[in-house]
Amino acid sequence: MKLKRIAILALALVFSFTSTMVLAGNLVIKGSTTVLPIAQKVAEAYMKQNPDVKISISGGGSGNGIKALIDGSTDIADSSRFIKPKEVSLAVEKGAYPVPFAVAYDCIVPVVHPSNSVINLTLDQLKAIYEGEIKNWKELGGPDRPIVVISRDTSSGTYEVWHKKVMKKDRVFPGALLQASNGAIAQAVSKNKNAIGYISLGYLDESIKALMVDKIVGSEETTLNGTYPVSRPLYMFTSGWPKGDTLNFINFVLNPEKGQKYVRDARYVPLY
């Protein structure tokens, strides 16, 4: 029994070894569509500096990325969440040890029309607004105007953060308007005095006003020190401690002078 297990382990080792041999000079990145823009921008820059390395990137969602990492069909798995215990045990069973690297932070801020006098909302108030229980700005100390709630399409990563951190996994009420991108929400909120929406920090501009959450301003600083409640780290997972091209790439991503510059280009919060 024990012999068999060792044999399988050895076989797995040989397999993983050969697969890395085959992929030398080629890097496969797969996973979360939230992390995708970062991976794309960084990979473009990386390939410019290292023309002999070919990086292929695809989305498919965090779960699919981690699954591919466990199967050995990708070198790096992008993920907008931490790996789940079930996935870890599955990986260990197959002889893979996923190693997480936080590469950026995703920070979501509630936004309103600049003419709105409300400046701060608590998490509970935000939840009640998105559940359709608070219907007028008056109840929040604002003007006597109905609240128009704008949310994102349910498959977006931004919605995912909002759903988890603000809604505590309860449902956004069906009367909420839907916009398909951060830009569209910013546009819609800037055109409507009654509206409230939420967007990634990088999409803020003068045409809309960001609200504080629990009296904390959403910024790069409050995201990094962990006080701002509606944010999350984004990860890249490797199978085992990275080697060769994978290591070079991860180092590139984490380098404040190199990869981290592109994190801001992708409208996320860099690590430093």
Partner: protein
């Protein structure tokens, strides 16, 4: 003699090749259409292992990514139908009356000017119309009617009406134009006024063509995606007034498909929504086919 028969054979062969060429061209588009339909059903039907057809079509809640998810597209179907019906209410009078004016009372010079302009409306990219509705019309409606949001059923219907007017107008114009001159002349000769001629002779004679025009215009409206995605508001609820935001089926598919995990239940459900949408447009086309066959204008004698 021999030479003659050879050239005859050569010509026949050429004929056959040409016929085969056209046959295969025609077959290509049919094959592609068939493949798309097969693919649509193939990717859409698996959702019915998870949800019953009844719950899918008549479920009131659409929460595809929740745990447990709800896949009810009833609000989406109602949204599509109300938006289409509303836009028909606006676009039919506009389109048909424009067509009547252009064929029956506009001077030839004016007609030469107006017709291309109306048809230019059809050439406007839908995203431009959507942007116009979002940036200009929505704030305007909100101000005028004092409603919470300008992104709603009415705004979307208005923009869709703009898009279907050219279709309705140019097809009904052709229908009206093809009403035999004898009919019109006979009516006028009997002492009918121009209005009576239009209402009692021309309109009934071209009714089949106008109906086809209306239905084609409506099927354009029900399948239109960009406009409803941008300005219908997107709330997956049953509307209680024409100023409520709604989410028609194409908007839901377009907004969610890009990031729905491949071959997940959500993905299947979106394809199944596509199947429902396809069923609606197919129905529209069948109805228009039926009408134009049943009331076909054969000649001056059919009235």
């Amino acid at each position: 003699m021999r030479k003659n028969s050879q050239t005859g054979e050569g010509r026949q062969r050429k004929e056959r090749i040409i016929r085969f060429f056209f046959f295969s061209v025609a077959l290509t588009s049919i094959t592609i259409l068939t493949l798309i339909v097969v693919f649509l059903f193939w990717e859409g039907l698996p959702i019915f292992c998870k949800v019953s057809v009844y719950d899918f079509l008549f479920g009131r809640y659409w929460y595809p990514t929740d745990d447990p998810p709800d896949f009810g597209i009833f609000p989406l179907i109602v949204a599509s139908l109300t938006v289409t019906a509303m836009s028909a209410v606006i676009s039919i009078p506009l389109g048909v009356m424009t067509a009547l004016y252009l064929t029956e009372s506009a001077s030839a010079r004016l007609r030469e000017w107006v017709k291309p302009i109306v048809e230019l409306l059809a050439a406007l990219p839908s995203v431009v119309i959507g942007f116009f509705g979002m940036v200009i019309v929505a704030p305007f409606l909100q101000e005028i009617f004092n409603i919470p949001t300008g992104l709603n059923l009415f705004n979307a219907s208005l923009m869709l009406a703009f898009m279907s007017v050219p279709t309705i107008c140019s097809i009904s114009e052709d229908a009206i134009y093809s009403v035999p001159l004898e009919l019109k002349e006979a009516s006028l000769a009997l002492g009918a006024t121009q209005w009576e001629t239009i209402a009692r002779v021309i309109l009934p004679a071209s009714l089949s063509g106008i109906s086809t025009a209306i239905i084609l215009g409506m099927s354009r409206a029900i399948g239109e995606t960009m406009v409803v995605l941008m300005i219908a508001g997107g709330a997956a609820q049953l509307p209680s007034s024409i100023f409520d935001p709604v989410r028609p089926m194409p908007a839901s598919i377009a907004a969610e498909m890009a990031e729905a995990p491949f071959r997940s239940d959500h993905y299947y459900a979106l394809f199944a929504t596509g199947v429902v949408l396809f069923a609606f447009t197919l129905l529209f086309n069948l109805v228009s086919e039926h009408i134009s066959n049943k009331y076909r204008q054969v000649g001056a004698a059919t009235l």
